[in-house]
Amino acid sequence: MNWSWFHRLASPPHVYALAARLTPWFAWPAAVAIIAGLWGGLVLAPPDYQQGDGFRIIYVHAPSAWMSLMVYVTMAVSAAVGLVWRIKVAHAVAASCAPIGASFTFAALVTGALWGQPMWGTYWQWDPRLTSELVLLFLYLGYMGLRAGIEDPQRADRASAVLAVVGVVNVPIIHYSVTWWNSLHQAPSVMRLAKPAMPLAMLLPLLLMLLGFTLFFVALLLVRLRGEVLARERAASWIREVVSA
């Protein structure tokens, strides 16, 4: 098995070119999936028997929440790779993830609040999910704050990598403790689509949205990655060609 394609992923010029080429391959399918998901979710899916049309917020809330968590894990894993194997491209990936993840965590919180108001009668609810999302937002902000606070770029990469790894280890612990705390105080039941299984007409658009957002994340990552890779390269004839293009 020829692994050279894998090893080349550590090479900045290769990654830069590859990212540029691959972006449309993720961007367009993402757009298609999202539009299809929106059509399915807003138009085709029937209203929920309990929440009426209000449940349709799930088609933006769930993908945002999914993004917030998936991006954090991606960030932590690539940071760990960068830390252990000292690969700059990995650090570049981690740096690219942070703003994307933070903004979608924000979206998850806002859409969650907007969903909560008609369903629970209150914009904010200290339920495990929303509370964990809020903590996740602070974890992102801390990560970005640490990066911004350290001037030396290499030190910033490595220090924030340690933070990301420590954070990802803590996320399950935090989530567990928040769930535990919540169960003690008998909070009102977390919003749930009452039926144990979603009918296909509701589920399919949701899956499409989740897929679409994931593809969108990859496309965004590829764009940001190019900038981050450039920033980490001092030397370089390859930069000259790329930049004067």
């Binding site: 009426g52 945002s64 979206a107 907007l114 930049v243």
Partner: protein, 54 residues
């Protein structure tokens, strides 16, 4: 059509939620390309400075 926009009475919640998400999506696209442009400009400048030093 009107029923669609009304969202069964939940319009005041559903549409802002979609609007916020759309805004975040668009902002991300804008930020990503802006960051890329900045890096390219920065790299160009760095090369220039290096070239001048020789």
């Amino acid at each position: 059509m009107r029923a669609f926009f009304d969202m069964g009475g939940y319009a005041a919640f559903v549409w802002p939620a979609y609007a916020v998400t759309l805004a975040v999506v668009l902002l991300n696209i804008f930020w990503a390309y802006r960051a890329l442009e900045r890096s390219r400009t920065e790299a160009r400048r760095r090369l220039q400075v290096q070239g001048e030093r020789r």
